[in-house]
Amino acid sequence: MARFHSLQVTEIRQDTRDAVVVTLTPQEQDRGIFDFTQGQYLTFRRSFDGEELRRSYSICSGRHEGTLRVGIKRVEGGCFSTWANEELRVGDTMEAMPPMGAFFTPIEPEAAKNYLAFAGGSGVTPILSIIKTTLASEPRSHFTLVYANRQIGSIMFREELDDLKNIYLGRLAILHVLESESQDIDLFAGRVDAEKCTALFKHWIDIEAADMAFICGPEPMMLAVAAALRGHGMRDEQIKFELFASSQPGRARRKAESVAAAERGIACEATVTLDGATRVFSMPKQGQSLLEAALENRMDAPYACKAGVCSTCRAKVLEGEAEMEVNHALEDYEVRQGYVLTCQSYPLSDRIVVSYDQ
């Protein structure tokens, strides 16, 4: 299981009115763990009013830069992103899991490739990391970025992208498409949709010469761009997606209610048999599954997906009653026989007898 590690905030830069770029420094022993690949993201956790929230933000630095930076755009009503934009200070620590994600292709220093990227809003964050790493490490490759934003003021990394164009003269082209500001050329106004892509492919982008395309932005843009790329002959394996993570309100975990349950006196006495050995323990009726209760009582209960899917945690209810929240694995006849997925089962009766051995 991936673990969380502490990172120190060593710099915060206001990038746009509602986005910050946060530089993070791992502890000495964790440096290797945070040796990321371009395009990956970090998952952070923080407790807000006693409830743990987890949010993922893409890394915007290039591999060669030797720093770990993430871009965090404030989302309307977003607890974590608002906190990061308003309250986070240099010297604070953040907790993050090691870098994850597969939004990249391997760097080949000898390659001379033409890359395309389509970014919508803060979807540019992982793409910036990919662009910087690729231009630095594949000296013969070229990049074209189509970058959609509402207005000039909301363009993240605008200066940094301009600087990159100057550093890698002739190897990086950037086409800004602005939704609500008039442009000299109509093509660069409005949304990046199927029509816009077709027009871009006609005059500005040589789609036939493209080796690889990266897309990161809101869902409708991803669909439109992917369809246009396929329509112009690109194969699935040439298109890399990263679903615009910040548009996804993360789901809060189910709250543990064991304390409240105990106070209300609605606990259950569970008798669980595993590998021939039986244990009796008390567990709450809500907030903790039969599997979690067994594990907590140091029973080596089998499980795998904990999603009600793989049926590894199957057990038979011999006495009492349990409610299964999700069942994607057991057939009706098994359920009728009393089998439950313990990772999804919560006792309803005051006493329950369960066996993993049958």
């Binding site: 869902e219 394996e237 679903l243 997906c305 899917v309 049926s311």
Partner: protein, 251 residues
């Protein structure tokens, strides 16, 4: 065009998901089930072939069988790693079941899953020696190529990429099987044994394509986890298999 849409609508229109965080609960469940089925089938298949290494009639065949065992186990490992990103306990999962366990040769289980694992029902039947194993490898191998090609289009990108890497190697396993079968049918006695095995395995492999008119198919299609119905895949297999068996004088 609005700026955002629900994940369900995005998937219905062919959208691609890229991390467990994106996956709604139902999607998560189905993609895990799909992966568990693949992993368990590969592990059970590899476990069955492991015993067959000692039945192989020559060094070339021993190597081919050992390679199949190695690579199918590796394929299971790659997909299991994706399950791990959803929270599955990968280490425990890999050993939680007796992958070499088999039912009786004459058990009749149709397409039903058995016991605590998600392997395709065909992998519950025991192999009977070299010729029988080669026949299953060819029949199921051809089915696997068709089923895997379908899975290279799944809407979960990290998984689709793995299936695209795996597909040519699985196709090679089938080719190794066809080579071995070509040698087997050179001898009339072995040819007749092979013919008998074809009769035994054909309906059991056919069952691995699932039921026609499956209600689950529509749901999986909406999630972008399936694109062609069971009967279309089955029919493709029947046609390809008929051609292959005719070429081997096994029709």
């Amino acid at each position: 065009m609005s700026e955002t849409m629900s994940i369900e609508e995005y998937l219905r229109q062919g959208g691609v998901l890229t991390s467990p965080d994106n996956a709604p609960p139902r999607y998560r469940g189905e993609v895990l089930r799909l992966m568990a089925s693949f992993v368990d089938s590969e592990l059970a298949g590899a476990a069955g072939f492991a015993d067959i290494i000692n039945d192989a009639p020559g060094i070339k065949e021993r190597i081919a069988t050992a390679r199949i065992v190695l690579e199918k186990t590796d394929h299971a490992g790659r997909v299991l790693d994706v399950m791990g990103t959803f929270g599955a306990d990968v280490e425990r999962y890999a050993v939680h079941h007796a992958w070499n366990a088999r039912l009786a040769r004459d058990a009749d289980i149709g397409a039903a899953r058995q016991g605590g694992d998600m392997r395709l029902s065909v992998f519950h039947y025991p192999l009977q020696g070299w010729v029988d194993a080669v026949v299953l490898n060819v029949l199921m191998g051809m089915a696997t190529v068709i089923q895997l090609r379908e899975l290279t289009h799944v809407s979960y990108q990290p998984l689709a990429e793995i299936f695209r890497e795996i597909l040519p190697r699985e196709a090679h396993h089938t080719a190794l099987g066809v080579e071995a079968l070509e040698r087997i049918v050179g001898d009339e006695g072995s040819r007749r044994a092979a013919l008998e095995s074809v009769g035994y395995w054909r309906p059991r492999v056919a069952a691995s394509f699932g039921l026609a008119g499956s209600a689950r198919y529509e749901m999986l299609k909406r999630l972008g986890l399936r694109h062609r119905p069971n009967e279309a895949l089955l029919s493709e297999w029947q046609t390809t298999l008929d051609g292959q068996l005719a070429a081997l004088n096994l029709n």
